[in-house]
């Protein structure tokens, strides 16, 4: 394999260099009605080389918009994005285009992101052609190498995307994203449309690529178990705000933001005997309109800890333990992890079921 990792991991004793840093990232869209939506509001985080940041939250919380704003498509309305030491928001378009080869995106629906008339070979070679990398024969070699890397049989070289299954097509999309040896790959719901058994194959592929190529990535998915599996750190978003960000393991074990806790407790456990089925935290009410978010903390209308202070002051993102930040005036304590309750039996005939609400 001749593919060199995007960047070597830093020695353990020096602080790792951030590949990406956003400060106060804000994206405001104007609706035809004249109303404004702050789809992303004051989002700040750091992404180190070789690290994967998972972004979770319900639909409409701004996960995808955050990623697109980082890639300057479109550029943010406020805030900064530093990528490999370069400030992207002030970079001229021509230079930005060159930088874009170092950032790639993989989307949810691979069939929709591929030209149906092209062969697999054309699809994977396209980024190399666009950026005029190598000669025709070296590009061809690279396509073979990439197909091998993502586990695609060479017999598919001349197939068209339409004749591939969802899983195979997603492998093509990943091969295409890897073609230019990017520093950053963003996976936007890249496994969400796949069947469970195919999803597992692609997740394992991503895990292997992460290890082999030391990829730096942002991984978006609405399935919290999927995100945990592939991420080093996880950011939780609600209505455009980052409410909590921290190491995957500790954030899931003891969430500090009430919203994170509610989100985690809603995950269906694929085993009724699961010993730590969480007591469900029901959220009050409904998601407020993004055009008219609540004052202060945006989550306060659905939070049972909220008081007057939450409606007045926007809670800043504060570090509560190394690498773990939370935006809440009354964060949950770390010593009291998510309550575990014994599984109630609800069926009279002895079949185990769960009655989380009562």
């Amino acid at each position: 394999m001749t593919i060199s990792p995007g960047a070597a991991a830093s020695p353990p004793d020096t602080p790792p260099t951030p590949l990406l840093e956003t400060t106060g990232l804000t994206q405001t869209f104007r609706l035809p009605t004249g109303a404004e939506v702050q789809a992303v509001s004051d989002v700040s985080f750091v992404l180190h080389r070789g690290e994967t940041l998972g972004l979770v939250g319900e639909s409409g919380c701004g996960k995808s918009t955050t990623v697109r704003t980082i890639l300057q498509a479109p550029p943010p309305t406020a805030g900064t994005v530093t990528f490999g030491g370069i400030e992207l928001t002030t970079t001229p378009p021509r230079q930005l285009r060159r930088l874009r080869r170092r950032m790639q995106l993989v989307f949810q629906d691979p069939h929709a992101s591929m030209n149906p008339r092209w062969t697999v070979r054309d699809c994977i070679a396209e980024p190399l052609q666009v950026h005029r990398v190598g000669t025709s024969s070296s590009r061809n070699d690279r396509v073979h190498e990439l197909m091998d890397l993502v586990g695609l049989d060479e017999g598919y070289l001349t197939s068209r995307p339409g004749s591939l299954s969802g899983g195979q097509c997603q492998r093509v999309a990943i091969a295409r994203a890897l073609a230019l040896d990017p520093d950053l790959i963003c996976f936007d719901e890249a496994v969400s449309a796949l069947d469970v058994s195919i999803q597992a194959q692609i997740l394992n592929l991503i895990a292997r690529l992460r290890a082999d190529l030391e990829l730096t990535s942002i991984f978006i998915a609405h399935d919290l178990a999927v995100v945990k599996l592939v991420s080093d750190r996880i950011g939780v978003m609600y209505l455009g705000k980052l409410c909590e960000i921290g190491p995957a393991e500790s954030l899931y074990r003891s969430p500090r933001h009430p919203y994170t806790k509610a989100l985690l407790s809603a995950i269906p456990k694929p085993d009724p005997r699961h010993p730590d089925r969480l007591r469900r935290v029901n959220l009050r009410g409904e998601l407020p309109s993004p055009t008219d978010p609540p004052s202060g903390c945006r989550f306060r209308t659905r939070c049972d800890r909220a008081d007057e202070r939450c409606s007045l002051d926007v809670p800043p993102l504060q570090t509560i333990s190394p690498g773990h930040q939370v935006a809440c005036h009354y964060p949950l304590s770390a010593s009291a992890p998510v309550e575990m309750t014994p599984l109630p039996t609800r069926r009279a005939n002895g079949v185990v079921g769960q009655s989380p609400t009562r």
Binding site: E58, S59, S165, G167, D195, V196, S197, I198, Q199, A200, Q201, L203, N204, A207, H222, D223, L224, A225, V226, K228, L229, V230, S231, D232, A248, E249, Y252, A262, L263, L264, A266, I267, P268, K269, P270, D271, P272, R273, H274, D276, R280, N282, L283, G285, E286, L287, R346, R347, N349, G350, V351, V352, G353, Q354, S355, P356, T357
Partner: protein, 337 residues
Amino acid sequence: MHSSLSPSSVTDILEVDDLHVDFELPRGRLHAVRGASFSLGSGESLGIVGESGSGKSVTSRAIMGLLPATTARVKARTLRYGQHDLLDAPERVMRRLRGGEIAMIYQDPMRALNPIMRVGDQVAEAIRAHEPSLGRKELSTRVVGLLDAVRIPDANKRIRLYPHQLSGGMRQRIVIAMALAANPSILIADEPTTSLDVTVQAEILDLLGDLQEERGMGMILVTHDLGVAAWHTNRIMVMYAGRGVEHATTADLFEDMRMPYTRALFDSIPRVDMPPGSLLKSVEGRPVDPSNPPPGCAFRERCHLAVEICGTTAPPRRQVGSHWWDCWDDQEEKSVK
């Protein structure tokens, strides 16, 4: 055999025995369902779990008589609801059963709703379809009652709204309210939460489970997600390539998965208790092409236990109590391997 599938205390209101559904398509015949058998007792909840192409949705549509008559060929030894033979029932009877006795909800609530009609009117229409003589006042009381039953807050105000003014979860509640309009004895929910966010999914699943219990309805929950099926079902049937391959009470199934595909499906699901960076036990390959199912066991090419006979002869059905599975593998020998 089917009476033994469910506890003897409940009577089977739905019986499906050896259901086959073929589609005649321009490119050839597609075998979507190749022998599915199960029964449903009143007040019981059955999960049908499988990946795309397993035939789970086609099975539920066959029960409802909703498959296109021009292309679908439905055959079965038995396809019975109560006293009605669903294969032979005239369209007039089917129309009464559909929605009246057996109701169905789908994945995408937006497609089940009329975008230019107030949701209250749509629920009213569903009630009136089965009770045309109902007076205006009574009708609106019933509509509000149904919206209360599906836990829509401020039902009196919400009936005036159009579907696009509601969130995905609220829309699905409206669809559930419409399904409940005629007090059906069976509710078939086909991927009812797949398009919803995880917090809303949990609420809708709880709602369905509670409604099913309160009303003593039978429920068939069709899903690709074993985790969703585990939530509120008594029994689960796993389908693969058009066939039921394993069936057990929900507790038994998770206790002791016998068919290798069930185990593979379970192992493929990422679980929140897995540490970051762990690999899933995935099965290679992909589901078989339904237009050309192989002889023998359809799962054999992806199965780590497969032996020669799996490729030639359909596996035998093994049964312990209500738990059955189709596999050539002898469980006694498995421990030796």
